[in-house]
Symmetry: C2
Subunit: 191 residues, 2 copies
DNA sequence: ACCTGAACACCGTTCAAGT
DNA sequence: ACCTGAACACCGTTCAAGT
């Protein structure tokens, strides 16, 4: 049995996938969920709050995908790489969800903040493991941030069409692999 | 003398700075420019087209800032670093303009596409110069994409509050410097 | 506790009309 | 060629009312 709340979240996510952000109106969400256009106000403070719930769900799904991708690899750097690649693939497969999830959020959204904290923690853990094995040098938290920021930026630029318009060799996946390779080969920065 | 078109662009940019994207309505733009709320349609196809003109202007200003920052340094890697830092600083100083400029653009916007091509070209040139001097290893276009994507992603995550919430040591500036340092020290990737 | 229908203020866009 | 005012369809949000 699905609660109305869950139904509203799913409806919003589907509208987002099918028609982009502009298709996600409370009226359309309500219609798709089979309720009136202001039923959402009984479950969410406002539209932003509903969207935050959608984003939180997406972020949890992304974290799961990254963990399961990492689990399929054995080497420590392999796990980190698989995790980062999963991030990039997910973002490219669901651009609208990606933009929503990592967009600008005003105000407090506990559920989303929790999901974000869990995601960050998961990434840091993988990199720390690789660092403890000597497979990645430098401060683990810095390395994790480096890898994450690169993957995120590469996908974002790629989605907006700015990246690798001329060269076919420059894809988010390749950049991520290149960075991880570089980090595993380089001397520790004399900080 | 300022044309109405220029006045509309400036008005939109100012509203964006002061009140965020939601403050940029055609009615407010018109009022601030001293014309009616649909005068913009005589100069732009629609609202998106006006925003694209704003974004193009911002992108040109950013490119100028990067070039002038690079000019103040002498070493090849110094120029690349100064350029990347200028990018990051600009984005942090003008988050709303940054989000707009690198947001999703549907359809053709020649002016914006031109500005983007010029920006990319400028960045590639700086990195190519450093590579030709042996200061940066690896394929120059890949290295440029790496640096750019990292700076872009670091700022974007930082603005949405996901980056370095726990550690004060993780800022976009530091990550950019760290990456460039790593790229200048590392062995060439065996491709 | 949850939902509805009417209403409000606002928005982007179109159109006939003015100079 | 450029601008205006009225109008249209749509939106998020509020509110009184129903169960």
């Amino acid at each position: 049995m699905m609660t109305t709340r869950q139904l509203l979240i799913r409806s919003a996510a589907r509208l987002l996938d099918e028609g982009g952000p502009s298709a996600v109106t409370l009226r359309a969400v309500g219609a798709l969920a089979g309720v009136s256009h202001n039923a959402p106000y009984k479950h969410f403070a406002d539209k932003q709050d509903l969207l935050a719930a959608v984003a939180a769900g997406e972020l949890r799904a992304l974290t799961r995908a990254m963990k399961s991708a990492a689990a399929r690899r054995t080497s420590a750097t392999g796990k980190v790489e698989a995790s980062a690649i999963a991030y990039v693939r997910w973002a490219q497969a669901h651009p609208a969800r990606f933009k929503l999830t990592f967009g600008s959020w005003e105000g407090e959204h506990d559920e989303l903040a929790d999901a974000a904290a869990t995601a960050v923690e998961s990434m840091n853990k993988g990199v720390s493991f690789a660092a403890s094995q000597g497979a990645l040098r430098g401060d683990p938290e810095q390395s994790a941030a480096l890898i994450w920021a690169l993957g995120h930026g590469a996908v974002d630029l790629s989605l907006s069409g700015h990246l690798g318009k001329r060269s076919r060799a420059i894809t988010p996946e390749r950049l991520v692999k290149l960075l991880i390779q570089t980090l595993s080969e380089s001397e520790p920065p004399q900080r």
